[in-house]
Amino acid sequence: MKEMINVVGVSHKYQSADGETETVLDINFTVNEGEFLGIVGPSGCGKSTILSIISGLEKPSKGEVFVDGEKVEGITEKIGYMLQRDNLLEWRSIEKNVLLGLEIQHKLSRENIDYAEELLNKYGLWEWRNKRPSQLSGGMRQRAALIRTLLIRPKALLLDEAFSALDFQTRITVTDDVYRILKDEGMTTVMVSHDIPESVSMADKIMALSSRPARVKKIHEIKFGSEFLTPFERRNAPEFGQYFNTIWKELDINGE
């Protein structure tokens, strides 16, 4: 299987007036093409920093990151990055919102616009393309934000607590939606979340981190029976509770 993301010996220090903080320490992992890696860890441990480093927004103080065999130096177009909120712009229609990434990268070719229309159609937003973000439900907005990122044809997708701004019910549906789209598109994904059930329900592998500075404690393989296709179904699978308990215990700060 092709290795899509390679993180090799990455450490990161954060400098501020108060001094130096080690956020991440000697992280190593690999994500294969089409694989879904969940990263869980105590809050404030530096999970998001790992994503920033993969995307090139932050530089590691030590170590290297490779995406699709190429070393990451500065913001790379190979990475799609989704933040906590959908960040759709209210002054643009859904279609114009979806095209924003392409617009910024000067890639508004006929071919790419056709692709945008194809994805809007495929994921049920075609009738909504001329509406404003505020006229859409939370779930539809999240899909629009995802399409915006998919249109730049990233090699890998980073999700940073991407569903945390949604209410619980929407969150469950959106998770199913997003999961289906990611698997449809064969997208390599790294998701940071403090929500263990959510991670277990979506991921193929889960990396558990220690508290700050974040170190890799263990990488768990997550496997469900073939009858459990969606994150929602996986939540009802017999293995689900087992995985949850194992990871929960591992993160337990009292146990350290």
Binding site: S55, L57, I75, E77, I79, G80, Y81, L83, Q84, R85, N87, L89, W91, R92, S93, K96, L100, G101, E103, I104, Q105, N130, K131, R132, I152
Partner: protein, 269 residues
């Protein structure tokens, strides 16, 4: 349709309409009472009509001035205000954008901005006259001096309050600074922009009148000073009243323009 409304709804509508009407009537009442009382007190001789002027004489002055260059004076003041306004918005906007884009620059010049902002700009009058000459230029520069700093600070403040995560989103697509400014910061700040336009136009007018007090051969500010010097209080009062009407109309104009733009933005493209 009417009959479908519930009794409470009808009652509510009737009450709001009645209230609206009462407010309008009160407004007209305040005007009428003030004007009548002023006129009556001056006529009876309780107040001195020569010093305080009186509504009938003000009206007469306006009517006779209307055929005697009044519109030229209004035009001159409007013209100067508009130039001061446009220059203030353009320069203020450019400076605010520059300060937004460079935190270093903005930190470096901050104390100077604060000093300039708190300085009563009218104190610069003599300096301005010596530097650019006693004419329309001096008046426009005065308008600029008074309006620009506030516009800059107001806009800068708005730019800085742009949602950080939206900027981050644009960055993840590799957006450069000016792209972030044009695609995220500027459109996020339409409300702030219009607010600063409103502040700017008001201050430009203040600057123009102050400038006209110092140097001018025409304009409402000139009329006020001239009327004061020759003790024509009717002319002074008439000019002040016209000035307040002009100021209100300009403000309304911007509010109208704002609604137009916001409606356009609100419509799906």
């Amino acid at each position: 349709m009417e009959s479908n409304l519930s009794k409470e709804r009808k009652e509510y509508i009737k009450n709001t309409q009645r209230r609206k009407r009462a407010i309008t009537l009160t407004r007209i009442g305040i005007f009428l009472i003030t004007v009548t009382a002023w006129e009556a007190l001056a006529r009876i001789g309780i107040i001195d009509g020569f010093v305080m002027s009186m509504p009938s004489r003000i009206l007469k002055t306006v009517v006779s001035a209307a055929s005697n260059g009044l519109f030229l004076h209004i035009g001159v003041t409007l013209y100067e205000t508009m130039i001061g306004f446009v220059l203030g918005v353009v320069f203020g906007g450019i400076i605010a954008a520059a300060l937004w884009s460079s935190e270093f620059l903005s930190k470096a010049v901050e104390p100077y901005l604060v000093a300039l902002n708190s300085l009563p700009k009218i104190a610069l009058g003599p300096v301005i006259i010596i530097w650019v000459g006693a004419g329309t230029k001096a008046i426009i520069v005065m308008a600029l001096a008074i309006s620009m700093i506030v516009t800059t600070l107001e806009m800068l403040n708005g730019f800085r309050c742009t949602e950080e995560e939206k900027i981050m989103m644009a960055k993840t697509f590799g957006a450069r600074k000016w792209e972030i400014f044009l695609k995220i910061v500027l459109p996020s700040n339409v409300f702030t922009l219009f607010n600063s336009l409103k502040i700017n136009i008001g201050l430009s007018l203040v600057g123009v009148i102050a400038g006209e007090f110092l140097v001018s051969k025409a304009g409402l500010g000139y009329l006020i000073v001239y009327g004061g010097q020759v003790f024509k209080m009717d002319l002074v009062m008439a000019s002040v009243i016209i000035l307040s009407v002009v100021a209100m109309l300009i403000y309304k104009g911007i509010t109208f323009f704002e609604k137009l733009v916001l409606n356009n933005i609100g419509k799906a493209q």
